[in-house]
Amino acid sequence: MSMATLTAPSAERENYLNQEYGIRSWLLTTDHKRIALLYLLSITFFFFIGGFFALLIRLELLTPAGDLLQADTYNKMFTMHGQVMVFFFLIPAVPAVLGNFLIPIMIGAKDLAFPRINLLSWYLFIIGGLFMLYTILTGGVDTGWTFYTPLSTQFLDTHVVAAALAIFIAGFSSILTGLNFIVTVHRMRAPGMTWSRLPLFVWSNYATSIIQVLGTPVLAITLMLVALERIFKLGIFNPQMGGDPLLFQHLFWFYSHPAVYIMILPGMGVVSEVVTCFSRKRIFGYKFMALAVIAIAVLGFLVWAHHMFAAGISLYAAMIFSLLSYFVAVPSAIKVFNWTTTMYKGSISYMTPMLYAFGFIGLFTMGGLTGLFVAALGIDVHVTDTYFVVAHFHYIMVGGMVMAYLGGIHFWWPKISGRMYPEAWGKLAALIIFIGFNLTFFPQFVLGYLGMPRRYWQYSPEFQVLNVLSTAGATILAVGYLLPMVYLLWSMRYGKVANENPWNAAGLEWMTASPPPTFNFDQTPTVTWEAYNYDELKEVPVER
């Protein structure tokens, strides 16, 4: 799909795609919409690299013996699968692609507060990505995505410093995106766009930005200290010198638990938009939904040591963190109840984004509920570091966040590309992904409680049947993810031309052209209506 030939026949008018042509107009753009597309390409590229590693892991686990890959290669596979997926796909995905594209339009602004910093954020992501590619291509890293010391600092000679540097740089890209969103939402809202009229997508990205800004620097310094310890033999985490490996875990998880909320909160924002649009109803309990998002962002910072219950922290600290972990579970429960109640007495249509929203609510509920298991101290001692935890966080990240991301991409595709995606193919892909996902990860709950530890290259024979089921599911999931890639690209040229508001949805982004002009609105709109005013929007039959 070369940039230059991208013309939307319907829009003879100028829009952000055909306003300028040529590589320079893309690589030096400060238009938040073009930067969003640059991010879309970059993270899709990394998604398929991470997915490739995942497939290799699942293939290796078909048999109890380690017969496909060598032990070291397998360790590199799950390490780089984790690092590429977490730092180069999950964290940037919704904020940097959908957030960058939509937030200025949703609040009626011409662009983000700092357009040049937005471009810098993408370049930092690409530089970080290049370091990651260098790490992958020249031998990989096998510390696990968690970099636990003293293994990562003293007992491995793979590219630990290169991987740490890659994530350090990509972290700043995340910080700058967060900084941009916070200042934009505070300073750049159109007249009349009060906080209580903000779409919940903006609320959830605002909460995500709080986490990105307050959490990522701690990961940055922690990875820097690991790099210093490897290069200069400084002994901050070195047990021989009285250093404490648990200090590394405290600093690492201080960021990495809120990071899982960076991944899921934007997905929640997308689902709030999609559920209200396809139920033709206002969101149920707007204040509580907005408050819940902020509560998750704040409480998310108080619970990190529930990753360390069996790691050797003190008994009373474990109890404090377990109690706090149950407080952070409440806002997520509130959101699930509110989405479900929003559908009550609605007028629900089953378009692809709505199928993804159904999938999200279902799978996120299971992910959230299993969170209650691993937060209970007694059970966590048995299931931590086993496939139960692997299934738990994949239910939330893949079942929740990736479903919401695909739902969002389909929901706003007409706005991004000016074209409609093929509806039948969309529904088929959503179904395949849902089935493939459950077949992959549900057996892992059982494996986990049986006691199969994670990151095992070879395992006891009695776990084989469940692993074979999981691998079968993974192949279906892979097919499911390839489909949207194909038909969305196809739709950019051959898709039906989309009008300004194909879903007849509420929101400022549906009141400007598809694809929007470079400055989003001819003149800055004034907002006089409440959020999700579907009662005022007439019921237009959506053509098939």
Binding site: A113, L179, V213, P217, L228, F232, K233, G235, M241, G242
Partner: protein
Amino acid sequence: MSDRAPAIATHSPELEHHFSSLEQQLEASVMGMWVFLITEIMFFGGMFCGYMVYRYQYYSAWVAGSQKMDFRWGTLNTIVLLCSSLTMALAVRSAQLGRRKAIVIFLLITILFGLGFLGIKGIEYHGHWAEHQFPGLNWAWPEANSHLVALFFSFYWAMTGFHALHMVIGVGLVSWIAYQAWKGRYHSAYYTPVEVVGLYWHFVDIIWIYLYPLLYLISHKHISG
């Protein structure tokens, strides 16, 4: 920044196209800088957390390590940085008043103080390196608690090293806006860059305000040696 911005009431050259007024642009830049400074607080916060944990566990080694610090250089460096903060604040004030020459002079003095600080830091580093107080690469410690004092020095080198790095960036930024000020780009209606770099400089000074007592003055023994 495409220049075909739709006409806005007071279209002065410095105004970014997507802001409605210079006032909004300055407020946004200041807020953006403060959000960035929060990330810096958390960045140094990670090291302060490690420092606090190990000081709680190995207090006697921290005292032994702190005794090796020359607190006179530390105090002088603190005063140098406080002076640079004063001149920086006066530079921002003269930018608000639009006094071009005053901005340049105050900024140059600030740069001098900054370089002075780095010079003193260099002397201290040279001293510690000569006495083999760099854990790992160049370490020799006669007494029994060698490992634990090495932990203290690991934090000393890491914290002051990152602080010095931020100081180097600060000197670079200040010289850039001094050059711009010398070319007359700033006046009482538009001085955002001076303001923002000022905030950054004061922040780096605040980090040192905490590093000084925590590294140099751990217990009363540092004076009696």
